[in-house]
Amino acid sequence: MPLYHNDEQQMLADSAHEFMKSEAPVTHLREFRDKKCKDGFSHALWKQFGEMGFNGILVAEEDGGLGMGHYEAGIILEEIGRNLSPSPFLTTAVAGVEALNASSADMRSRYLPGILAGDTVLALAIDEQAKHRPEAIAMEAQRSGNGFRLNGQKQFVIHGASADMIIVAARTQNGLTLFAVEKDMKGMDVEAVRLVDSAVAAHVRFDNVELNADAVIGEVDQGGAVLDRLLRAGRIGSAAETVGVGAGAMDITVRYLKERKQFGKAIGEFQGLQHRAAHLYSEIEIARAVVMKAQQLCDEGSTHADMMVSAAKAKAARAANLSVREGVQMHGGVGMTDEYDIGLYMKRDRTLAEFFGDANYHSNRVAQMNGY
């Protein structure tokens, strides 16, 4: 498959572009932020996502979805990134759906229709410490009657306070198991925290939370493979969103370089800034390429997909971080003001950097996979 959009993908890209630009541009984020919107996103917008069909991209056709792949999900996510659109798309329709795709027909029918309609929101409870380290999940789910009893704590559960269901990864007797935990269960304590990018995450404590056996996603003790699938989708998805953030930051910065005049000319005429802008362009282009490649490998089910996903997440994070840092610096004083958008890109980049493992985590993972 060539590394550019085919006609169908281009149509999807155009429609996602138009949709985000008109329905969820940066002003939309500002509005929600300034209102201190409790959930960090608009449920009405989420409903529109459903209507646009975005939420069904990774849902199989037999489950009512479009049966498309990570490449197409990435098209939506890059536009989300570019517009800083707040939505539960990544947790719900990408990572969450990929986990559900590995679950029973019963469970799929329980959640997928609501997701497709833009009604249901999912959150992911994976991390237990400040850094992403799913290898070291310590939280335990003990057998209790026909079901399980959950004890422990999770953090960085984005949309955790507003989610209808949280996918929780926990240790069971002979491995990991993923659970679908409905909101407001007895023994759950959900503390919402506003993050730097105005998203709302949660610390979730589980104190003897009783779950039925049908809360298990896939099979008991076999959650490792489901988690891998969820993580792969989340990682390549967040990488795509990160490329959007980096590209969006670059675009407004390049525009500013053409407008802002100092010393009698546009600052974009100064070669010092030109070279840095051109280097940045190169980095963003390369990041987009490796993200697209990784999406394709995932969609092909390639054995190389996992390593390429880590490379993509790491490269996207480095490139976007450069973009927002150069963006603020090249904006000068106004880049530091809340009035200009570039700071919002820096903030979103920061949150995305940590989500599903940062560049360092994934660089190390690539080294390990390469046997060193």
Binding site: V193, F263, G272, Q329, G335, D338
Partner: protein, 386 residues
């Protein structure tokens, strides 16, 4: 015992006797600093007492002449005073742009009358000043400023706008660069002083990406200023400004990086143990820190001995601020999702991310990194052009 040694002994004894214990606690933030001025609310009685007794000796400005409210100390004595205050952890009795910036300018360029009028109230913390340099259209290119100051015969009439005027909403007076000749870029600028309560002056605070800030936008709408409130000659204000910019950059170059900044890897050893790539970055950064610390020491030593290149503060400002930004990127990486929390008690209402975002201004304020590099290229390396 030399004179200096006896001065040290006496000073220490006096400080021990007179500095209130509250004024020997560490300064945790802006709220612990005394800025003075008409509308200042003292934190407590001790803060006012400390200001008053220090001002009485002229020790809010120890090396200014006694005639203008200073302590009349020699450079060596002033250094001893600083050292003894540091040893006893005495807080600064007064922080003030009047002391740091306007004072030196007046001492160098002011008339005898201006010195007698403006300096003593600065020394006593009665009048708080702010600085009006930058404008929306003139950041790095300061000299392109447009705030127009028209000669109306018996007074000046000022119209325009300033930005980045720190604490303009709290200051009593402003010292300000204004255009008095539209036809001469450099020799058309004057250095003007006026009361912020003059009709036509208004201010609006600027919200930064890191949150609230002391910075303001300041607007002048037909502000009438008496003719004598110009420092130096009319149209020669750029000389005063250049003199002060030098001061500002030195201040910033010293302040960018804390000299006893500890090993960042040691501070986050637990994270470093789990993340070998971050550990490598921290190791590199620790080396940069140690090296820059040595550079700071060398720079100070050379400055004191009059040996350094006069443009060296530009290099220091560049290197120090870039390093500090990098440091906070590492802190964010080490802090993971804990470091993302913006509004939570556990995070001190987002202290880490706000500090991180605030550092992004380091390489912009007081001269951007790009301007610093231009100056180094031209004045130190003597590269041609522009």
């Amino acid at each position: 015992m030399t004179d200096l040694e006896s001065f040290r002994t006496e000073t220490r004894a006096w400080l021990e006797a007179n500095c209130p214990p509250e004024m020997r606690l560490p300064v945790k933030g802006d709220e612990d600093m005394c800025w003075g001025g008409r509308n200042f609310t003292f934190q407590n009685a001790a803060q006012k007492q400390w200001l008053d007794i220090m001002a009485e000796r002229g020790w809010t400005v120890p090396d200014w002449p006694k005639d203008y409210g200073g302590g009349g100390l020699s450079a060596a004595q002033a250094k001893v005073l600083r050292q003894e205050m540091a040893k006893l952890k005495c807080r600064l009795p007064l922080s003030s742009f009047g002391i740091w910036m306007l004072g030196p300018a007046l001492l160098h360029f002011g008339t005898e009358e201006q010195k007698r009028q403006y300096l003593p109230p600065i020394a006593r913390g009665e009048i708080r000043w702010c600085q009006g340099y930058s404008e929306p259209g003139s950041g790095s290119d300061l000299v392109s400023l447009q705030t127009y100051c028209e000669d109306r015969g018996d007074h000046w009439n000022v119209n325009g706008q300033k930005v980045w005027t720190s604490y303009a909403d709290k200051a009593d007076w402003i010292f300000c660069l204004v255009r008095t000749d539209k036809n001469d870029k450099y020799r058309g600028i004057s250095f003007l002083l006026f009361d912020m309560e003059t009709p036509g002056v208004s201010t609006r605070p600027i919200k930064l990406i890191s949150g609230k800030s002391p910075f303001c936008e300041t607007f002048f709408d037909n502000v009438k200023v008496p003719k004598h409130q110009i420092v130096g000659e009319v149209n020669r204000g750029w000389d005063v400004a250049k003199y002060l910019l030098g001061h500002e950059r030195e201040m910033i170059s010293g302040g960018g990086v804390s000299l006893d900044m500890p090993s960042i890897g040691a501070a986050y050893a637990d994270i470093a143990a789990l993340d070998p790539i971050l550990r490598a970055q921290m190791a590199e950064f620790d080396i940069e820190t140690m090296a820059f610390r040595a550079m700071s020491e060398k720079f100070m030593d050379e400055m004191k001995a009059g040996k350094g290149h006069p443009a060296q503060p530009n290099m220091m400002k560049y290197a120090g601020t870039e390093l500090n930004k990098r440091r906070h990127e590492l802190i964010m990486a080490a802090s993971g999702s804990d470091g993302l929390e913006w509004e939570s008690e556990a995070s001190g209402e987002g202290k880490k991310p706000r500090d991180w975002l605030r550092t992004k201004a380091n390489s912009i304020e007081g001269g951007t990194s790009e301007i610093m590099l231009n100056v180094v290229a031209k004045r130190i390396l003597e590269l041609p052009g522009g």
